[in-house]
């Protein structure tokens, strides 16, 4: 079974530039999460999708971050404009719909973003 795919693995940009990350979840997983993991901290949920609808985006800085999940499969997370404090690893995860199978989230390898 293919895992959660993310790209790129690494990205370096200057502050005020824009950047986009891509995530392809495990086939059949209706729930998709984007997490931000700052160095030395645990992951923090940015946004959660159920199919192509947003379930929770309460911690997404909406003035600069946006995310979409077209057709309920792939997702992109965008930052525009980037700030120095956005330097972090961005993790994508997916899980089966509630009530189907074991409750568990599967993670991609993440994208390490460095803003200089």
């Amino acid at each position: 079974e293919a895992g959660v795919a993310q790209s790129p693995r690494y990205k370096i940009i200057e502050k005020r530039q824009s950047v986009a990350f891509w995530c392809n979840p495990i086939s059949g997983h209706a729930t998709l999460y984007w997490y931000q993991q700052i160095l030395g901290q645990g992951p923090k949920l940015l946004i959660q999708f159920q199919n192509n609808g947003v379930v929770d985006d309460s911690q997404l800085p909406k003035d600069r971050f946006s995310a979409e999940r077209l057709k309920g499969v792939d997702s992109t997370l965008k930052i525009q404009p980037a700030k120095l404090e956005d330097s972090a690893v961005y993790l994508c995860a997916s899980s089966l719909p509630p009530g189907q199978g074991k409750t568990e989230a599967f993670f991609g390898q993440g994208t390490r973003l460095t803003v200089v």
């Binding site: 901290q41 645990g42 992951p43 379930v55 995860a93 568990e104 993670f107 390898q109």
Partner: protein
Amino acid sequence: AQTVTQSQPEMSVQEAETVTLSCTYDTSENNYYLFWYKQPPSRQMILVIRQEAYKQQNATENRFSVNFQKAAKSFSLKISDSQLGDTAMYFCAFMKPITQGGSEKLVFGKGTKLTVNP
């Protein structure tokens, strides 16, 4: 809001010995899930073990086991016969089942860096 606390930023253990990582959480929910994830330098989060709160029996997965104390809201991870490949960050996480108007948000602690020494 649920919170997860890992009070040990770093720990080390000798190869083949046993180590226990601590985790406490705060919630008013009665039904929920708890997880331990391992994050090696490759950054990929790997599920180590999961526990359903309604199950009294502690979960085990080979060399990994938990001590789940629901009343104390404690969920520690024991690693037996530690191996060099166990060196990683370990995160404790809490998830509440989806409810009407809610979401299955996965909340993490800050992590414990475990080093297994040869």
